[in-house]
Subunit: 296 residues, 2 copies
């Protein structure tokens, strides 16, 4: 671990090192290659995220909202793809695109797949997918982190050439634990201190402790970048760069927050061995078969 001399993004270290400027472009495709115009592409390149209303229309919402519990009930109680809240409720189901035709259809929508291809400038495949629900009253939130930091360290994702698409199934208010991002933070890789524990993912999916920047780093990043919050009606998608710092507070309101979460990786950025973990994570967290996603 951390012995690879070819690693541009070292992390999970035994001592702090300075932030590392990103070497990859923020956007790989151009305006003639998809639905996003120059302005949208520039905004995504600068801020690291893009909000796209009506990514799924209202007719999609009731059936999609039922998929989490339907899949959760269908799968064995100890199926590792089902993540439960400390209180027992279902928080996430992984690999829904392989378990549900409905979710597979969402991946292939004209409002989804062409956007992913354009941002990454290539064919794409699903690196990870899940349906999430943060319940009302007890949703516990998630601390600041870059997804790429984990995918690089624990899954062996070589370059920052992946994008997450979070499609809201419920309305996102400022006060129900909706996602916060530090705009522009994707342009910097923040190496983290602390070795990866064995089977870290069994706890990190509920509450992440390893792979988060220290407080001084976050204060500086926040001073420089500020915080934007993702709010909007159900059906809206938030697209965000794999390396964007994000997190969420708790949710004491009665309003749950559900989404379909799709991570697209470039087919030219397939996984290698983990950069900072002893062993690979399961394929439901990090697909190793590169199956290019196709339009419906």
């Amino acid at each position: 671990m951390n012995t690879r001399t070819d690693d541009h993004y070292p992390t999970r270290l035994d001592h702090a090192i300075p932030p590392i400027p990103r070497i990859e472009p923020g956007v790989w495709g151009s305006a003639d290659q998809g639905p996003l115009d120059d302005e949208a592409l520039q905004s995504y390149a600068d801020g690291g995220y893009l909000i796209r209303p009506r990514t799924v229309g209202p007719e999609w919402l009731p059936p999609l909202s039922m998929e989490l519990n339907r899949l959760g009930a269908e799968l064995d109680h100890d199926d590792p793809r089902v993540i439960r809240e400390p209180g027992g409720g279902i928080r996430s189901v992984f690999e829904p695109h392989l378990l549900s035709n409905l979710i597979a259809e969402v991946v292939g929508l004209e409002t989804v797949l062409p956007v992913a291809r354009q941002l990454l400038g290539s064919d794409v495949y699903i690196h990870q997918a899940r349906i999430n629900m943060m319940p009302g009253f007890t949703g516990s939130g998630f601390y600041w982190h870059s997804d790429f930091e984990t995918w690089h360290a624990e899954d062996g994702m070589p370059a920052i050439r992946a994008v997450s698409c979070s499609i809201a199934l419920t309305d996102n208010y400022p006060f129900n634990g909706s996602l916060m991002v530090m705009p522009g933070s994707h342009q910097t890789f923040y190496p983290c201190v602390g070795a990866t524990p064995d089977d870290n993912y069994t706890s990190s999916l509920v509450s992440q402790r390893i792979g988060t920047p220290d407080q001084d780093t976050l204060v500086k990043a926040c001073d420089e970048r500020g915080i934007d919050q993702f709010t909007g009606p159900a059906g809206t998608a938030l697209w965000f760069d794999a390396n964007l710092l994000h997190g969420s507070g708790s949710n004491i309101t009665p309003y749950p927050r559900s989404n379909v979460f799709l991570v697209f990786n470039s087919v030219d950025n397939g996984l290698v061995e983990p950069f900072a973990a002893k062993s690979r994570r399961p394929s439901f967290l990090a697909a190793r078969d590169i199956v290019p996603a196709g339009l419906q």
Copy 2:
């Protein structure tokens, strides 16, 4: 406990009972009795809260921001008026108006005391006061509750004729755990289930478990009332009725949230014996000497 036949607002019960409409008016004074005009008074009567920018000017902020830690450092480590976060930081200091000339001055400001007198239609005194800080990164928030429910049950406040004035010492954003209220909920008293444990206050000040409405009640209240969030620059005051349902989420941002919190009670509403607790709470939580507050 709960044996008093004269109690219009029974709570801490062994079984659920329906919500009880409030019998007191929302506002006791009139437009000719203070700085608030008819529109502001009507808005407070309807919604149960009022936001007043520049209640303290910018020159007050640096000295006020230092008072929490100054008082915390001055008082003995085991002084019960100092409330600490689970992590050890100072969360609140009670009775600051008796410990600090600066805080006493704030109570007597033209932007503060006359507003309290007008809303309550009488002379007023400080029922409880504190300086609070919710730290960045680890601030844990507070679940939904009505303050009056506690003050009635544990302190013997007879009627809903008190108002809280929370003066922000830091900027309140939507995402740093700022206060949420259910507008109009002050018009209903929500009896709570569960007897008051002995010395409940020693834990309830950090995390309240007793004296909170059940989830079904909160869902209904929220459907009916919605949620408003208190945001605004440092120096802004939130005035809110003692019976307004309020709470706050956690704060994972680097931005702390500090305020001076003053509870004014009408001199005609002095405390009697607790309505649903075995013994009185200490006077730093619930003053029993009615000393009318005066202008500076």
